[in-house]
C-alpha cells in the first residue's frame, strides 16, 4: 500500500466538515484517485492545487446547507425554551430572579469600581503629575507620614532639578466669603501658585490661565460659585471679600469633576500670602512648617524613581539643618503618582478622605460570591430538571442531533435565560442606584450608551454567566444515550446528586461566610462605639470660632455664656477629641537628660479636662488659682509617660518653641499632671503620646458641657448670645458625640453593605433550595403516597424530605467557619482595639442558616406530607 503524503491527509481533513456524512467516504476516495493521477501526470504541486480548488468549490453548497439548517434549528430551540419557561414557571422564576439579583449586584459594584478607578484621570498630564509627601523620623509618638510639605519645596525643586517642569503649592483654608449682602462659609478654598492651571487640567471659561493667579489678591472661581455670588452677572473683575481682604476675580473655571482627590471651588493666588513679611518668615522660608500640598509636573522623559533618588541629598542641602534644630529629627520625601493617591494614599492630613483599594477588593469579592450563588442555582435546577428534559434529548438524538448540537442548544438556552435576567438586572440597577449611592456616598450615574467599558463588561458578564451556568447541564444532559433514556433504563436522579449536594454546600458556605463577616463587622463597630473613650462624649455642644475678636476675648465670652445655669462648663480649644489635634516639637528635661520630641499637642484653656469629663490619674488639673498655669504648666497623657519612660512624670521639665523654635522658646515649665488615656483620634489607631497646655492663639472651637434637660432652651440661649458676639458669621453648632461617631463612617458603610449583600446572598441561596425542594417533592410524589398508605405519619414524611438538605446546610458550616474566621481575623488586624471573634457568632450563623433552610424546605415538605395519598397515586 502506498503511503499517503501528509499534505493530502491534511486536505482530506476538511472534507469531513464540508461534505455530508454519507458522501464523505466515496468523495474522499474519488479525490484521492484523481489527485494521484494528476500528481503522476503533472507533479505533486499541481495535484495539491487541484485538491484545494475542489475544496473551495465545495464551500458554497456547504454554507447554504449549514445556514438554512441552523436558522431552522435556532427557531426550534427558541420555541422549546419559551415553552419550558412557561411550563416550569416556578423554576424559571427562581432562576431568573436569582441571576438578575446577582447580575445587578455585579453591575453596581462595577460602577463603583469604575468610579473609584476614574479618580484624577481627567488631567491631561495625569501620568506625569506627582505629589511630594514627607515622612518624619523624629522621636516621639507623632504619626510619621504626612501628605504635606513645607513651602520652599516647590520652588526649590523646580529650580534645582531640570526634570521638574513645573511645581505648585496648595494651601487649604476655610473662610468666610462675602459679596455685597451674600455671605457664605467656603470649605473648598485653596491658595495656589499660578502654575496650578499649567499642571492640572482645570479649563477656564473666562480669563487667561497663564496670568490669572500671578498677581496678589486675585482669585479664580468655579462656575457654580460665580452663580452663587453674582447670579447671572459676569463675575470677571468683580471683587469678593475673603476673610476681610479684597480679591479680584480674574478667571472662571468649569466646575471640578467629583472624581478628584481634592475638590476646589475657589483658587486664590498664593502671592497674596507670600507678599506679607510675617508669612514670609513663618511659612515661605521655613522648611519645618508643613502646611502645603506640593505637586510637581515631571518632564516627559524622566522617571519619578530617578528623581526620588536625588531627594536625600536635596534635603541634606536645604532642609536638614533647620528640621534638626526645630523638630529634632529628620525628614525624607517621596513622590506619589497622582493617579494612585485616591486609592492607595492614607497619610496624615490628606486633603479629603480617600477611597481604599481594600474596599474595592472586598466589594468585588462579595459581588462575585453572590453571582456564583445565583449561577449555582441555575446549574442545580437545570441538572435536577434534566430528568424532564431527558426524553427530549433522547428523541433529538434519535432523529439525528449530534452531541455537539445538544450542547449548543442548552448553552443557547442558558444564554437566553441570562439575557432575560440581564434585562431585569438593568432595571433593578436603575432602581437600586440611588440607594447604593447613599450607601457608598457616591454620585454615580448610569450612562449605558456612553459608558463603553460598562457595556463591554456587561457583555462579558452575560457570556460568563450564561456559559458558566449553562455548561454543566449542557455537557451532562447531552451525554445521555437515547436508548437508555427512551427505555427508561437509567435512573438519572441517582447519578448526579453528589454534584448537586456539593453545590448546595458551596452556596451555603458562601452565604454563611458573608453572614459571619456581617456579624463580626457589626460586633466590632459596636465594640468601638462602646469602648471606654476616656472622656464623656454626651451633651457637649461644639461651636466653631470664626471671628478673631472672639478668640481674643475668649475669657469674657466664656463668662458671658456661663451665666446660664444649664451650661455646666465650657472650654476654648483647638479641637475636641475626634477633631483637630496639633503636632509640635518639645524638649523634655528629666533626671536622665534632655530629649527632643515631636508629639501630638492640644492647645486649650484651663477647663478642657473638666469639660470633657476626663480623669487625672496623677498630679492635678490646670487651675485658675495658680497664676503660673497659663504660662508654665503642661499635662501629658499616660501614653506619653509609658512611651518616654518617665519615672517621675511630675518632675519633668518641658520646653516648647511655640510657632517656631528658630525664634526662641515660647514656653518653659513642667508637667503638673497626668491625664488618663483618652481616644483623641480614630479608634483604628492606638493612643499616641499627647501633651496639653494652655495657649489661646490657635483655638478654633468653643465646647460646652450642658445639662441633659432642656437642651433646646440652652441651645436657643447660646445661639442668641453668640449672634450678639459674632454677628458677622452664621451660627453653627454640632454635638460632640455626633462628630465623634463620624470617625467610624467607613466602618459603618462597610457594615451596611455587608448586611445588604449578605441578606441578598442568603435570599438567593434559599431561593435555590426552595426550587430543589420543590423538584424533589415532585419526583417523590409516588413514594410519599406509598409511604402514607403504608402508615407513615406526617412527621416521618417531613423528616424524610428535609433531613438531607438540612444536613447539607449544617455541613456547609464546617467549610464556612475556618474561612470566615481567617478573613475576619485579617480585617480586624487593621484596628488597634478589636473585638474577639466570639464563638457565639459561628453558632448563631449556623442556627440562622439552619432555620432558613428548614423554613424553605418545610413549605414543600408540609405540602407533600399533607397531600392525600390518593391524589399522588392516582396520577398514573
Amino acid at each position: 500500500m502506498k503511503k499517503r503524503s501528509f499534505s493530502f491527509k491534511f486536505l482530506e481533513f476538511f472534507l469531513k466538515y464540508l461534505v455530508p456524512f454519507e458522501d464523505q467516504e466515496n468523495l474522499a476516495g474519488d479525490f484521492a484517485e484523481m489527485a494521484d493521477r494528476i500528481s503522476y501526470a503533472k507533479g505533486k504541486v499541481r495535484a495539491i492545487c487541484w485538491y484545494v480548488i475542489q475544496i473551495l468549490k465545495l464551500l458554497p453548497s456547504y454554507f447554504k446547507n449549514y445556514t438554512s439548517w441552523s436558522v431552522t434549528m435556532v427557531f426550534n430551540y427558541f420555541k422549546i425554551a419559551l415553552r419550558n419557561i412557561k411550563k416550569y414557571a416556578t423554576y424559571s422564576f427562581i432562576n431568573i430572579t436569582g441571576l438578575a439579583i446577582g447580575m445587578a449586584c455585579v453591575i453596581l459594584i462595577l460602577l463603583f469600581i469604575q468610579d473609584e478607578l476614574s479618580y484624577d484621570r481627567f488631567h491631561e498630564n495625569a501620568d506625569r503629575i506627582y505629589r511630594v509627601v514627607d515622612s518624619f523620623d523624629v522621636s516621639g509618638g507623632i504619626d510619621r507620614d504626612f501628605a504635606l510639605t513645607s513651602a520652599p519645596f516647590a520652588p526649590t525643586l523646580k529650580q534645582d532639578f531640570p526634570e521638574v517642569e513645573d511645581a505648585v503649592r496648595l494651601l487649604t483654608r476655610r473662610h468666610m466669603v462675602t459679596y455685597e449682602d451674600k455671605k457664605y462659609f467656603e470649605d473648598f478654598l485653596f491658595y495656589a501658585d499660578a502654575s496650578v492651571f499649567n499642571i492640572f487640567t482645570f479649563p477656564l471659561v473666562a480669563g487667561n490661565p497663564e496670568t490669572a493667579l500671578v498677581e496678589p489678591n486675585t482669585i479664580v472661581i468655579s462656575e457654580s460659585t460665580s452663580l452663587k455670588y453674582f447670579g447671572k452677572d459676569d463675575a470677571m473683575n468683580k471683587t469678593l471679600n475673603i476673610n476681610d481682604d479684597d480679591y479680584v476675580v480674574t478667571g472662571i473655571m468649569k466646575n471640578m469633576p467629583r472624581n478628584s482627590h481634592f475638590y476646589s471651588q475657589i483658587f486664590a493666588s498664593m502671592k497674596t500670602f507670600e507678599k506679607e513679611q510675617k508669612f514670609q518668615e513663618l511659612y515661605f522660608q521655613s522648611w519645618a512648617r508643613h502646611e502645603f500640598y506640593t505637586y510637581i509636573l515631571l518632564h516627559e522623559n524622566y522617571s519619578s524613581e530617578d528623581l526620588q533618588v536625588k531627594f536625600p541629598a536635596f534635603i541634606e542641602k536645604y532642609a536638614a539643618q533647620q528640621i534638626q534644630t526645630i523638630l529634632g529629627g529628620r525628614i525624607s520625601s517621596k513622590l506619589q503618582p497622582l493617579k494612585s493617591i485616591h486609592l492607595h494614599s492614607h497619610l496624615q492630613m490628606e486633603i479629603s478622605p480617600n477611597g481604599d483599594i481594600k474596599y474595592v477588593a472586598i466589594f468585588s469579592v462579595i459581588a462575585l460570591f453572590i453571582l456564583l450563588i445565583a449561577c449555582v442555582n441555575f446549574i442545580n435546577l437545570a441538572t435536577a430538571r434534566s430528568v424532564n428534559r431527558s426524553k427530549e434529548v433522547g428523541l433529538r438524538k434519535v432523529v439525528g442531533a449530534s452531541r455537539y448540537q445538544i450542547i449548543q442548544q442548552f448553552l443557547g438556552e442558558s444564554l437566553f435565560f441570562t439575557l432575560f435576567a440581564l434585562i431585569l438586572a438593568l432595571i433593578l440597577v436603575a432602581f437600586a442606584l440611588p440607594f447604593f449611592n447613599s450607601l457608598t456616598g457616591k454620585e454615580i450615574e448610569m450612562n449605558y450608551l456612553t459608558n463603553f467599558i460598562l457595556l463591554g463588561s456587561i457583555g462579558l458578564l452575560l457570556l460568563f454567566v450564561g456559559l458558566i451556568s449553562g455548561s454543566y447541564p449542557a455537557f451532562f444532559i447531552s451525554r445521555y444515550q437515547p436508548v437508555n433514556v427512551l427505555k427508561k433504563t437509567i435512573n438519572i436522579r441517582s447519578g448526579k446528586s453528589y454534584l448537586r449536594k456539593g453545590l448546595v454546600i458551596f452556596q451555603f458556605t458562601l452565604s454563611i461566610i458573608l453572614f459571619i463577616a456581617t456579624a463580626v463587622v457589626l460586633d466590632q463597630l459596636d465594640f468601638l462605639r462602646n469602648r471606654k473613650l476616656g472622656f464623656n462624649k454626651e451633651h457637649v455642644v461644639v461651636i466653631p470660632i470664626r471671628s478673631n475678636s472672639i478668640r481674643k476675648n475668649a475669657e469674657a465670652v466664656k463668662a458671658e455664656l456661663m451665666q446660664n445655669p444649664n451650661i455646666i462648663s465650657g472650654t476654648i480649644t483647638i479641637g475636641v477629641p475626634g477633631g483637630l489635634v496639633a503636632g509640635d516639637a518639645i524638649r523634655l528635661v528629666t533626671d536622665e537628660g534632655e530629649k527632643k520630641l515631636t508629639l501630638r499637642m492640644i492647645y486649650t484653656d484651663h477647663d478642657y479636662v473638666k469639660t470633657m469629663g476626663m480623669e487625672i490619674v496623677e498630679g492635678r488639673d490646670f487651675s485658675k488659682n495658680m497664676s503660673t498655669d497659663a504660662s508654665e504648666a503642661f499635662l501629658i497623657n499616660e501614653a506619653a509617660v509609658r512611651e518616654f519612660k518617665l519615672e517621675n512624670p511630675l518632675e519633668t521639665q518641658v520646653e516648647w518653641g511655640g510657632s517656631d523654635y528658630a525664634y526662641g522658646i515660647e514656653k518653659k515649665g513642667r508637667v503638673i499632671g497626668v491625664v488618663k488615656d483618652f481616644q483623641f483620634q480614630s479608634l483604628r489607631d492606638a493612643i499616641n503620646p499627647l501633651i496639653i497646655h494652655v495657649w489661646s492663639q490657635n483655638t478654633f472651637v468653643f465646647a460646652m458641657r450642658i445639662q441633659p434637660d432642656d437642651i433646646s432652651g440652652t441651645l436657643a440661649f447660646i445661639e442668641n448670645k453668640w449672634k450678639d458676639l459674632d454677628p458677622a458669621h452664621p451660627f453653627e453648632y454640632s454635638f460632640m458625640d455626633e462628630t465623634f461617631d463620624r470617625i467610624y463612617r467607613s466602618e459603618e458603610k462597610l457594615s451596611k453593605i455587608f448586611s445588604v449583600f449578605s441578606m441578598l446572598a442568603i435570599f438567593i441561596a434559599a431561593l435555590g433550595l426552595f426550587g430543589l425542594a420543590l423538584f424533589m417533592v415532585e419526583q417523590r410524589t409516588k413514594e410519599i403516597g406509598v409511604r402514607k398508605v403504608l402508615g407513615a405519619s406526617m412527621g416521618d414524611i417531613f423528616v424524610l424530605l428535609s433531613k438531607e438538605f438540612v444536613f447539607l446546610v449544617l455541613f456547609a458550616n464546617l467549610f464556612a467557619w475556618p474561612t470566615a474566621y481567617f478573613l475576619m481575623h485579617k480585617w480586624l488586624d487593621n484596628f488597634a482595639y478589636r473585638v474577639n471573634i466570639g464563638f457565639w457568632i459561628f453558632i448563631f450563623a449556623a442556627a440562622v442558616a439552619f432555620v432558613i433552610a428548614l423554613l424553605t424546605i418545610s413549605f414543600q415538605a408540609m405540602r407533600a406530607a399533607l397531600a392525600n395519598p390518593i391524589e399522588s397515586l392516582r396520577y398514573e
Partner: protein, 108 residues
C-alpha cells in the same frame, strides 16, 4: 416522468456501459474517452446526485482499493425507473432521428 438532459443521458448510458465498475471517476474517464473532450468531476458529480435524488439510479459501496487510500467506491446502477426513463428518451429520440436516417440514405 422526468425528461433527461443530454448530460444525464450520457451519464446513464455510461453506467450501463461500465456495468459493475460504474463509479464517479470511471464515468468521467469513460466519457472523456468517447467524447474526446475534457470532462470535469463536478460536471458529472452534480447530475449523478440529481439522478440519484430522482431515483433513476441507485448506489452501493464497492470494494476498497489501495489507490483510493483504502476507501470504498460508490458504484451506481440504473433502477427500473431509470430504465423506463431511458426507454422513453430513446423512443422520443428515435422518432426524431428517423428523418435524419432518410436524409442520409441515397435518394432513388
Amino acid at each position: 416522468m422526468k425528461n433527461l438532459t443530454r448530460k444525464e443521458e450520457l451519464i446513464m448510458l455510461s453506467i450501463l456501459n461500465l456495468k459493475s465498475n460504474a463509479y464517479l471517476i470511471a464515468i468521467v474517464d469513460h466519457l472523456t474517452k468517447i467524447t474526446g473532450k475534457n470532462v470535469s468531476l463536478t460536471s458529472v458529480h452534480i447530475p449523478l446526485s440529481r439522478l440519484e435524488k430522482f431515483e433513476l439510479i441507485k448506489s452501493n459501496y464497492g470494494e476498497a482499493t489501495a489507490v483510493r487510500g483504502g476507501r470504498r467506491k460508490k458504484i451506481y446502477k440504473i433502477t427500473n425507473l431509470g430504465l423506463e426513463a431511458l426507454e422513453e428518451h430513446k423512443r422520443v429520440s428515435d422518432i426524431l432521428w428517423e428523418d435524419y436516417l432518410e436524409y442520409l440514405l441515397p435518394k432513388e
